[in-house]
Every structure is written in C-alpha cells, then in structure tokens.
C-alpha cells in the first residue's frame, strides 16, 4: 500500500458517482442494443460474485494473498467502466487481472503458470498461447492509464482495531464484509476508509450471532435489517437506557471523527442489497450465459 491516498490516482481518477456509473453502462447499452438483447447477462453483482469465485480458484493453488485478489477485482471493475463486457472474453480479463495484480502486490506468478492454471479451469475459453495474456495485460494497463496502485480498506481496519478495541471476532467479521464489498460498485464510489468504517459498524452493531455466516448471506441481510432498526431506535432515544456501551463508544468515536457519515450509510445500504440479491445467485446460470455470449460472439479466439 504505497503512496498517499489523498494524492493518489485512485482518488483523482477512479472515483465515480453512482449516476456516472449508470450513465456509462447505459451508454454501452445504447450503443449495442442488439447484443444486449441477444446475450442477456445476470445482474452486475451476481457476475461479480461469479468472477470473484473464479479468482479465488485461480489464487488457491498459489495461496495468493487476499489483497492481490482484491486488487484484481478492482482492476476488473475499472476495465469494465471503459469496455463493454460483451466485447471481451471475461475469462481472459479475469486471468489477466489476476496476473497483473499479483505482480503489483509483490507476489508475482510466472505467466506460464497462470495460463496453465486458467486452462485447468476453463480450457474452452483460454488459449494455450501465453501471448494472449501478455496482449491483454497490455490492454488492461493502457485502459487504466497505467494507474495501478489500489488502496484497500484492510489497512484502515487493522489501524482502527486497537483504537476501537475491536475483538478478533469483530475484526474477522469486518474483514469478510470488506471482502464482500468488492462484489458491489462500492470500490469505485467511496474511499477505502469509509468502507472500513462501514465494515466495522456492521461487525460491531449488527454482530450476527452465528459465526458461520459466510456463504449464506441471507441471515446477515436479515440481521442487518433488524440491527438497523435497533441502532436507529438506540440513537434516537436519547433519554432511555441508551445503546449498549460498546455501541456508544463507537458512536462517540464516529461523532468526533470526520468520516462522512452519509457515505457510510450509503455503503451499508449497498451491502444490504448485495446480500439480498445474493440469494438469487446461481453459478451455473452465470456460467451458461457467459459461455453462450463468448461462443456466440466468437470472443475466445
């Protein structure tokens, strides 16, 4: 995590408003209605879930660090703000983002190894020729104007741990909330510290009781809805018993900090809707639609 976020290219060039992102996507659609009708794709977030699972597969054998996977996910997002997905081979983009992110996060993998690994999983979509990946890497770098450093919320989380005396359970939960936020557009919309604060609030306030919430997001969504009501009532009712001291401490800290509370709330909303839509996720469905699109448009050549 090099350089200073406030002066970073991420802050200057890669933050979008929700409207801007919608405009970009709308313009892609406008330009090629036929392809959009012919090859429908699932909700962007469902696709993101699919991509992230593919990335995890790629990273597993090499036990790649989470940070590299996170960087790869951001690269994929940035790339698809410049390119319509229906004109690309998403499997190649995923593989290339992985390859480049590994180099960037100082855990480089050899190009042959990455290609072999990718062919293992998607032999029909990845050519054995490594030069394809090299070419795509070049395209990826150009599309991102060689602005390659990505700032992640993980560091803020570990910095705030002692300050807010978070338990290791809470940190683990906040960590997985951060992992999940890469499935939404949030990394393109908010600075990392806002995301980290959001993750901490979710972890401390909503504290879903079941420890094994991962993978089945539905209960968390429910817990967050209920918890949301709780904190709301806790915050409004000033004279009553007041919120539990832990939450009080967090609320006090938030009030003194200069973190953009409105942005934090927006992030929480986004996350809740992610967990809701997650219930519709079907790996098979994503795979089929993508496969049909790639074959139909000969994008795997």
């Amino acid at each position: 995590m090099a350089a200073n976020y406030w002066a970073s290219t991420q802050r200057r060039h890669w933050l979008f408003t929700r409207e801007r992102l919608a405009d970009i996507r709308e313009s892609f659609k406008e330009r090629d209605k036929a392809a959009h009708n012919q090859f429908p794709l699932p909700d962007q977030r469902l696709l993101n879930i699919y991509f992230s699972q593919q990335l995890i597969k790629l990273g597993k054998r090499t036990s790649t660090r989470q940070q590299a996977l996170a960087t790869a996910q951001v690269y994929i997002k940035r790339f698809y703000t410049k390119n319509e997905i229906r004109q690309t081979n998403p499997y190649l983009v995923v593989t290339t983002a992985f390859y480049l992110a590994c180099k960037m996060e100082e855990c480089p993998q050899h190009i042959r190894f990455v290609v072999a690994e990718a062919r293992n999983f998607w032999p029909e979509f990845i050519a054995p020729d490594v030069s394809k990946l090299g070419e795509c890497e070049f395209a990826l770098i150009s599309e991102m104007h060689s602005q390659l450093i990505v700032h992640h919320p993980y560091r803020t989380l570990s910095e705030l741990q002692p300050e807010l005396s978070l338990t290791s359970d809470e940190v683990a939960l906040a960590w997985s909330v951060i992992n999940d936020h890469y499935l939404t557009d949030l990394p393109l919309m908010y600075p990392p510290h806002v995301i980290a604060v959001m993750a901490i609030i979710v972890a401390v306030v909503f504290k879903p009781s079941q420890t094994s919430f991962h993978g089945s997001a539905a209960p968390l969504a429910g817990a967050m809805r209920d918890g949301g009501m709780n904190i709301l009532s806790a915050l409004t009712e000033k004279n009553g018993g007041g919120p539990p001291p832990r939450i009080q401490k967090l609320v006090g800290w938030l009030a003194e900090s200069e973190v953009d509370i409105k942005a934090v709330i927006e992030c929480t909303q986004e996350l809740v809707s992610l967990y809701e839509i997650w219930e519709q996720y079907s790996e098979k469905h994503c795979k089929e639609l993508l496969g049909r699109m790639i074959k139909g448009k000969n994008l795997d050549k």
Binding site: A2, A7, L100, Q109, I111, S146
Partner: protein, 405 residues
C-alpha cells in the same frame, strides 16, 4: 508540474474523461442514425469501440513529438521529444521494450517504474508526465527532461571543482527525495550517483524506480538482491529478507562519502569482497555491536585475527575532514552497521549539519557540465542494479530477477 500534481494533472484528466463521454454519445447517435433495421455487425462494432479507446491514447501520443534517440539499452530506448504545442518544452520519452510476442508479460521493472512514478510527485523525484502505448504495442513513459547529466558525471570529471556547500545542496535534495519516498511507504532500493539526474535548473532528481517497492507487511519477505553492490548495506549482503527504509539511507551515506572523496568509498569486486571491505572500513559486525547479526541467513563468521573494532567519530573525522565534525557525525549516523541504529531519512533531515556553515549553494549556482543529454539517455535505459563502465565491469553480477518471481 511535479510540485502541484493536483492542480495540473486533474483538469486534463477530467477534460479527457468528459471528452470520452462526448465521443461515446456521438458514436451512440451515429449508430442509431444508421437505422435500427441494419443492426451493426459485431465486428464493426468492435472496431468502432477499438477506435474510441485508441483515440484517447492517440490524443496523448500526439501531444508529443519524438526528436532523436538519446540512448538504447537492453530494457528501453530513450528519445528526446517535445510538446507539439510548444516546441521549447522538452521531454524524455522512454520506450520500454516489451519482449517479442509478449512471452513473459511486462517485466517487473517496467511495472514498478510506472506504478510508483504515477503516484509520487515531488521536486526531487523525476516527474512522469504521461504514459501512452504505440502501434507496435510498446509502452512509452513521458518523463521530465533532465539535460545536465547525473552526479556520477560530476564526481568523475576532474575538471569540475566543487566544495562542501555544493555537496550540502546535492545531499539535501537527494535526502528530501528519499524522505518523500519513505513517507509514502516506497523503498527505492537503487540509490547511486548515476540514478541522481540533474535538471536544467540544477535540481537533483531521483530516477529509475525499476527496483522500487512498497514496504512489505510485517513478517513478509522481500528479496535481498537489490541495490547496486557498492551502495548495498551490510544487512542485505547478509541476506536479510525483512528490512526498512534505512537500506536506502546506507546508500545515501555511500553517495555522501563518494561526493567527498570523488571515488566510491567501499567498492567491492564481489558480494563477499564488499562485505570484507565494509568490515575493514567501518568495523566487524558482532553480536555486541549488532544484536542478531549472526542469525542472518548469509552471515559469515569473521576471521578472529582480523577483527576490526567499530569505528568511532575520530575515524570519520579523519577520513572526511572537509565536511567538519558535524558532517562526519552525520555520515557516521548513516553508516551504522546495525540497521536499527542507523538514522532514518527524516532524522537525517533534522541533523544539525544543515544549519552549520557553509550554507548550501543555491541550485542555480551549482557546478554543472554540458553533454548531460546523452548521459540521461544512458541512465534511463539501464536496468535496475546494473553497473556500467566500472573497473569491475566483468565481475559485476547480474541481479537474478527470476528469484523474485
């Protein structure tokens, strides 16, 4: 440019992105003009899409005109260029050779260089103005033009005379550049006189970020095969995999000594020779003066008959009398064998030496030498860690970059 990236860079960026939006809209309307019944074939659609992204890139490329080749190395070719709109504004265009057919993807050096220069903007760090790709799929970096060569050139030229005030000015600029890197969690890992280029106004600029990396997370290993040998600190020679910004501080110390003596201070012909030269000069590392040194992976027990005691202040004062007692004290703090006892870049900047007489020379009045253009070409095409035209050329070992993969 380098001083205020926020002001100078962002407007052009926002302009270009709104430009892109305009173009997108134009294309969108055009394709609807064609009539909905003639659905554009996917191929032509792809072409127009290509053109769009290429257009943006071409806009950048057309901002510059290439004039002549300044130098060529194994890794890059450097051209002198200028802004199309303003012929008097020179730039250096460093074209990175992508190995044929993308055999191995982009090299780590190229990636590192682009990655860090994009984010670091400081008067003592070479500025990256733009990046573009050309038709033959090469990556070109548009860098600040630094026509006055590098520090190595001045050190070696016997016709150039300089004094303590000049050294102080150069050292100040160097240290501020390094401090800024460290402040932003970046290790440079290849500081040496020929990576310190000189701008037309005399400002020293840190260049060549091909070996730079960000600080690793605690307990994560980094490679010890970095920094050109003569400037490499003892902990790296002993194979330490976890180290901090003070590796660069050792290099700064070596540059300081070299500026004073006008020859490299400890110039080993091999890594082993380098260690023994360091021991002879500064003292033999022992558990007493450097706790933990014997645990380092490549630690070699010294010959008991040749133990050199740790050198004190008198040694530095005797060796480097020109910089005075305070200057010798500063150099000593940069050359502590134990990295934990070595000063940080920030501590160096707070040292009393900067306040003693003489005051540093104004950068405009620093000694200079013409013919630096060619030198810049050579400096920018060299691979990180490579040594050139030294008496030990044949002995110079290439860094093993495969070890890092």
């Amino acid at each position: 440019m380098a001083v205020s990236p926020l002001i100078s860079r962002s407007p052009s960026a926002t302009a270009s992105s709104s430009n892109a939006a305009m173009k997108l809209k134009k294309v969108a309307t055009q394709s609807s003009l064609n009539g909905p019944e003639i659905a554009p074939s996917p191929l032509s659609m792809q072409n127009s899409d290509r053109e769009l992204t290429e257009q943006l890139n071409d806009d950048v490329r057309h901002k510059y005109i290439k004039d002549k080749k300044l130098g060529e190395g194994t890794y890059a070719v450097v051209f002198l260029g200028h802004l199309r709109s303003e012929p008097s504004s020179f730039v250096a265009i460093k074209k990175i050779k992508v190995n044929a057919e993308y055999k191995d993807g982009l090299s780590m050096d190229a990636i590192r260089e682009v990655k860090y220069l994009q984010e670091l903007a400081h008067p003592n760090i070479i500025a990256l103005h733009d990046v573009f790709s050309s038709k033959d799929k090469n990556l070109s970096l548009v860098l600040e033009y630094l026509p006055l060569g590098d520090l190595e050139m001045l050190i070696k030229d016997a016709n150039i005379h300089y004094g303590v005030a000049d050294i102080k000015a150069w050292m100040g600029m160097l240290t501020r550049g390094v401090w800024f890197c460290h402040e932003n969690f970046v290790l440079h890992r290849d500081i040496k006189p020929n990576n310190l280029l000189i701008a037309s106004d005399g400002e020293v600029k840190l260049a060549d970020f091909g070996l730079a990396r960000s600080f690793a997370d605690p307990y994560l290993n980094m490679t010890h095969q970095v920094i050109t040998r003569w400037y490499r600190p003892p902990e790296l020679l002993y194979g330490a995999r976890q180290y901090s910004g003070v590796v660069d501080v050792w290099s700064i110390g070596m540059v300081f000594a070299e500026l004073i003596l006008r020859v490299p201070f400890v110039a080993g012909s091999s890594d082993l020779d380098q260690i023994s030269k360091i021991c002879e000069a500064f003292g033999t590392p022992t558990e007493a003066n450097w706790p933990g040194v014997t645990k380092l992976p490549n630690y070699l027990a010294p010959d008991n008959n040749h133990m050199v005691p740790l050198q004190g202040r008198e040694f530095f004062l005797r060796q480097f009398p020109t910089v005075g007692a305070v200057g010798a004290d500063l150099l000593m703090s940069m050359c502590a064998l134990d990295p934990r006892k070595r000063s940080s870049a920030c501590q160096i900047l707070q040292h009393g030496w900067w306040l003693t007489e003489p005051k540093p020379t104004n950068k405009e009045n620093l000694p200079r030498k013409s013919g630096g253009t060619k030198k810049m070409g050579d400096d920018l095409t060299r691979r990180g860690g490579e040594v050139d035209d030294t008496p030990f050329k044949n002995a110079a070992r290439q860094l093993d970059f495969n070890a890092m993969r």
